[in-house]
Symmetry: C2
DNA sequence: TACATTTGCGTAAGTGCTTACGTAAATGGT
DNA sequence: ACCATTTACGTAAGCACTTACGCAAATGTA
């Protein structure tokens, strides 16, 4: 059994492979951070970079920018707050909102963190063999899914098989 | 805020995009199955197809074929057993092992399930615009990660930045 | 201005993977 | 034949996302 069955499956192996690949990045990144005593989690760098660029954002603005659900952001940000990387201030005009910013601690740590992320990017480039094809290909998938997702398309195609 | 920040991030957005894409497949597939009253979960089709091909396998053999950890298989298979799709028989020669097979119920349902999977594959082909580039590109990533994973490579690259 | 609707955020429960650890059965060396 | 090591499987805890639901604040409408 030395063949990778998911690869052998062709099209229908794609979704499993995406999950497997994504997880492999997440878990090795976690290990990487832990080895160096960094008290951050794998996906926090999205938030760091987002807040570095936009200064302050609300939960919904972040969810919108990252195309994630708002509870995903809430969970992420809560953990970052607990570690003291994110500050949260209630909006004066709209009391439902909280303006989120990078804390002083986050700004101080940022230059160091960026070294680790830079090394990660280099690793990524190696793995991608210095090419961006996969990024472009993913963008096509994302665009097509945006127009009609996997469920909708499956539904339509199902009619061909079940009259 | 109409730009997709993960895409705008370039290389460093890749891992987040893989996660997002993978999840989108998982959740829409779950919805798809639920809409049609199928009592199966998104990733069970890997097991169905694997056992269809190999008749009977142990947990470790499956983990090996799918390149997943053995607890992943145990969890999957336990749920499938609970729904009556998988039978488990203790190996006569090696009492640590269990030989897993598709149940009678699974074999009866298989032809119907395969229609739904076929429609899903067609959807996937649409999303991929009838091309296999992305599959080939993923295989390159998988191969390179197999040789040295993201953590190892990051570690090596880190030395360039931290003398 | 009163009231229904929308919006922002939060919590709960579910899914699926991982790593870490534990136990029992098989294997291997002397 | 014994004991240490390896292998197979299982369980527990953790992480990251989702959908579903709830509440309070803002908005829109008559």
């Amino acid at each position: 059994m030395d063949e990778d069955f998911l690869i052998a499956m062709g099209y229908s192996g794609l979704t499993g492979r995406l999950k497997r690949l994504s997880d492999s990045f997440i878990y090795t990144t976690k290990q990487y951070y832990r080895d160096h005593g960094l008290e951050i989690e794998p996906n926090w760098h999205m938030i760091f970079l987002l807040l570095k660029k936009h200064e302050k954002l609300t939960v919904m603005e972040m969810a919108d920018a990252l195309r994630l659900s708002h509870p995903a952001i809430v969970q992420l940000v809560n953990k970052m707050k607990k570690k003291g990387y994110v500050d949260s201030v209630r909006d004066k005009d709209d009391h439902r909102k909280f303006q989120l910013t990078l804390s002083r601690k986050a700004l101080e740590k940022l230059p160091e963190l960026e070294l680790y992320w830079e090394a990660g990017n280099d690793a990524l480039k190696e793995i991608m063999e210095q090419q961006t094809i996969i990024l472009d290909q993913l963008e096509i998938l994302e665009k097509n899914i945006g127009e009609a997702d996997f469920r909708e398309r499956s539904e339509r195609n199902l009619k061909k098989y079940m009259p």
